[in-house]
């Protein structure tokens, strides 16, 4: 199934904004946001760069892209002057080989569209290279259907999965999960193992998770954000994110992002009831006076999602140029 255009993915947009929100917490660690550099794979529209510039104009930004045509489109879509945003035409692996992050604090978003072992290798290579206080976000494809049946060579896809990811699987015979939630948990476990292998307890730094989400705007995705910090600062970092609504500081179950499609009129109508701490689904359903899904349970589930993420939900409007 083809996904909606990159910049029109509602759940992805929420994920993006939670990163923006997480960055705010850096100041609670007595760090200066202006010292940070953002690295990402912005795609043709540089959507994450546009947001980053909007919220944190002081952050330097570097885009990494190796496809010729996408690179040209990025040049066209650059949201700011080149002094603040550098577009690098380079493959990420080649970039990593040269990269030395010891002199700067960074925010990396490894925003992959697929799931390959090479992604874990890149993640593991990056972790020891960044300075303490750096934020790393990794997004991976999380589709259970990818591992059903046999591949073009006639081999069982789940066995191929085991072979390919054996180095980071929690158990040698672990199979791809049958549910979206199970698959997201498995990927999170794999990232945790990759992080422990890359920054083992013998190293002075540690990778600490901050938040993790699963969502589907077409294909299922898993996205985890974490911070590299000195081992003695773990408590400080946990404290900085301790009261953040979307925190996942102990590798707990990833949170779902599944925001409903509401009209602007509906959103404005619900706005006066928000934020809503208790029974948000029921309160918002009653406020609407009708169901937006097949039944009450699903409607309330979707509206609970809206209550959680309403500040991050994008408005998509038709505009005639």
């Amino acid at each position: 199934m083809k996904q909606p255009a990159y910049h029109l993915r509602a759940n992805k947009a929420v994920d993006r904004l939670t990163l923006i929100d997480a960055i705010k917490r850096i100041s609670a660690l007595a760090a200066n946001i202006g010292e940070y550099t953002y690295y990402g794979f912005g795609g043709p529209y540089l959507e994450d760069f546009r947001l980053m510039y909007e919220f944190y104009p002081e952050i330097r930004m570097i885009s990494i892209e190796d496809r010729d045509e996408v690179y040209k489109r990025q040049q066209f879509h650059a949201p700011c002057r080149s002094s603040q945003l550098r577009l690098k035409k380079i493959e990420f692996k080649a970039f990593l080989d040269q990269y030395d992050g010891s002199g700067e604090k960074t925010i990396f978003w490894l925003d992959y569209l697929d799931l390959k072992y090479a992604r874990f290798e890149e993640f593991m290579e990056l972790l020891p290279k960044v300075s303490n206080g750096s934020i790393i976000k990794i997004t991976l494809r999380c589709e259970t259907g990818d591992y059903l049946g046999k591949d073009e060579n006639g081999r069982e896809k789940d066995v191929e999965f085991q072979n390919q990811f054996s180095y980071v699987l929690p158990h040698p015979t672990a199979k791809p999960a049958a549910t979206f939630e199970g698959m997201a948990i498995l990927l999170q476990d794999m990232i945790r193992i990759a992080a422990q292998k890359s920054l083992s307890s013998a190293m002075p730094s540690k990778f600490l998770p901050i938040s993790s989400f699963r969502y589907a705007d077409g294909a299922g995705m898993f996205s985890l954000t974490g911070m590299v910090c000195a081992r003695e600062d773990v408590r400080k970092v946990k404290h900085a994110f301790g009261d953040w609504h979307f925190r996942n500081l102990n590798w707990g179950t990833p949170r779902v992002i599944d925001v409903p499609t509401l009209s602007t009129k509906e959103r404005l109508h619900l706005q006066r009831r928000l934020p809503c701490e208790r029974h948000a689904g029921r309160v918002l359903r009653r406020a609407l006076g009708y169901l937006i899904e097949d039944d009450t349970k699903r409607t309330e589930g979707k509206l609970r999602q809206y209550a959680d993420f309403h500040r991050y939900s994008p408005y998509f409007m038709k505009a005639i140029p």
């Binding site: 054996s166 929690p170 040698p172 422990q196 292998k197």
Partner: protein, 475 residues
């Protein structure tokens, strides 16, 4: 003139220094291997039991026996129901190193040096309680940090067990962990568990397949067995896909060797993809060497097992379908070709060097088949897929029906089965293979254009382009 003081030479003190055992010997072994040494003791315990001896000739001689490993950031425990340590063996079990008059080891054990358990304990921590029960014997042995530090203290206190267990077995509980070990058990717990489980699943593959149950932090370990393709229906004149087999006995060691295909040979595209994208389909390729059921080498693809030596090509992704197993069994573990750590093969052992000849001999049959068929993988795939994938145990049972022939010149003498693999017919000269390389981005674009799907196999995309152009050219 001053008198030169004459030194009085006395016999020197060669008493062993305890810290050598506690701090030095432990450096020679990885933490994971130390834990596997404790697991080896469980298996050796099974071999001493009456229940095992009664079922030794069955398919599941380890059935009903288990070992459970649990690690936390402040302790390590391994417990089993594998028969316990009889009091008659205490001087061997707890002594640092083997006594020359030690009782005969159980038939089929792997321990020779009498250091595994102690080394594993000192590797992990300073305090240890060993509780064991074997028939009427039930006792606790406690090692504490004072014992470890006191050079004059060599006796370890033993007390009768506080209570009897419903089964005979041993529990080793280690605490006061070494700080580095505690970190691995705590902060690296998930990665460490993954590594340990993989080592158990591969090195105990044969023992687990024969019924032994091992849990690590409550997770039951499933083995990663190797299967070889065996086509039971021999087709006369066309060749059949079956493994090469060699059986022999030499100086009290029984040897069984099998090498063959685990899967169809890869296409050129797959080889390229494997190299570029590191897909790791190659994981099961190579040689596994079992010594008294323990895998001391697992899926090796180096010169150690004959790759790249004496006419055998170096391992290459092209050969990902080839896998082999050699089993050495002996009632006297000292005759097995293993290293002192029991985690590797003794590459200089005469027996191993002799068997390596047969390994290369068998492997050559399958590398040359691969080279002959590599341009026609689809046809080869049909031949290989006709066969069943047999586990090592199933294969050994099947070999009884094969016409093994006595080897005339090999050392040691034995019997072998050389498969008659299919040979490709002469390539029809009217056919030519076309192969070229294009940028991934461009291939995806053409794939999308032709099939409305960017992920179609590149060879299909190339073939379609040719077909379209050919149809136009033929108009």
């Amino acid at each position: 003139m001053s008198k030169v003081q004459q030194t009085h030479y006395e016999p020197v003190d060669a008493t062993p220094v305890k810290s050598f055992f506690v701090h030095m010997l432990t450096r020679d072994i990885r933490l994971e291997d130390a834990i596997l040494d404790l697991l080896d003791n469980c298996v050796d315990g099974i071999l001493r039991t009456k229940e095992h001896n009664a079922s030794a000739s069955t398919k599941k001689p380890y059935e009903g026996f288990w070992a459970e490993i649990e690690f936390k950031n402040d302790s390590f425990t391994i417990s089993d129901n594998c028969g316990g340590i009889p009091w008659s063996l205490h001087d061997y079990a707890f002594r640092m190193g083997p006594r020359s008059d030690r009782p005969e080891g159980a038939s089929g054990s792997i321990g020779v040096y009498g250091i595994g358990m102690k080394r594993a304990i000192f590797k992990m921590g300073k305090r240890c309680l060993i509780s064991t029960q074997n028939s009427k014997d039930a006792y606790d042995v406690e090692i504490d940090p004072d014992w470890t530090n006191d050079e004059s203290k060599w006796k370890i206190p033993v007390t009768p067990a506080m209570k009897r267990q419903p089964y005979d077995g041993t529990t080793v509980y280690i605490s006061d962990l070494d700080p580095g070990v505690a970190k691995r058990f705590g902060e690296d717990a998930q990665a460490f568990q993954r590594d340990l489980e993989t080592m158990v699943a591969t090195q105990y593959v044969s023992i687990i397949e024969k019924g032994f149950r091992v849990k690590v932090n409550d997770e039951l370990i499933k083995p990663r067995p190797i299967h070889l393709v065996f086509d039971k229906k021999a087709s006369k004149g066309h060749g059949t896909i079956r493994p090469y087999i060699f059986k022999a006995q030499s100086d009290g060691v029984r040897i069984f060797l099998a090498v063959g295909f685990t899967r169809p040979i890869p296409s050129q595209d797959e080889v390229l993809q494997e190299q570029q994208e590191t897909k790791y389909s190659t994981l099961d390729a190579g040689w596994t060497i079992l010594c008294n059921d323990r895998a001391v080498v697992y899926c090796d693809r180096t010169e150690l097992t004959g790759w790249g030596e004496a006419g055998v090509p170096r391992y290459h992704t092209q050969f990902i379908a080839i896998s082999g197993i050699v089993e050495f069994q002996s009632d006297d573990p000292a005759k097995l070709p293993t290293t002192t750590t029991k985690r590797g093969v003794d590459a200089s052992s005469q027996l191993y060097l002799q068997i390596k000849n047969k390994m290369r001999d068998g492997m050559g049959i399958f590398t040359s088949y691969t080279n002959k068929w590599k341009l026609r993988p689809e046809e080869s795939k049909k031949q290989i897929e006709k066969g069943e994938r047999l586990s090592f145990g199933e294969l050994k049972a099947e070999v009884r029906h094969l016409p093994l022939k006595a080897t005339k010149t090999s050392v040691p003498p034995g019997e072998q089965f050389r498969p008659n693999l299919p040979l490709p017919a002469k390539i029809v000269p009217s056919m030519r293979r076309i192969s070229f390389t294009k940028r991934i981005y461009d291939v995806r674009k053409v794939s999308e254009y032709l099939f409305e799907d960017p992920e179609v196999d590149p060879s299909t995309v190339g073939e379609k382009c040719f077909d379209i152009t050919f149809a136009e050219a033929a108009k």
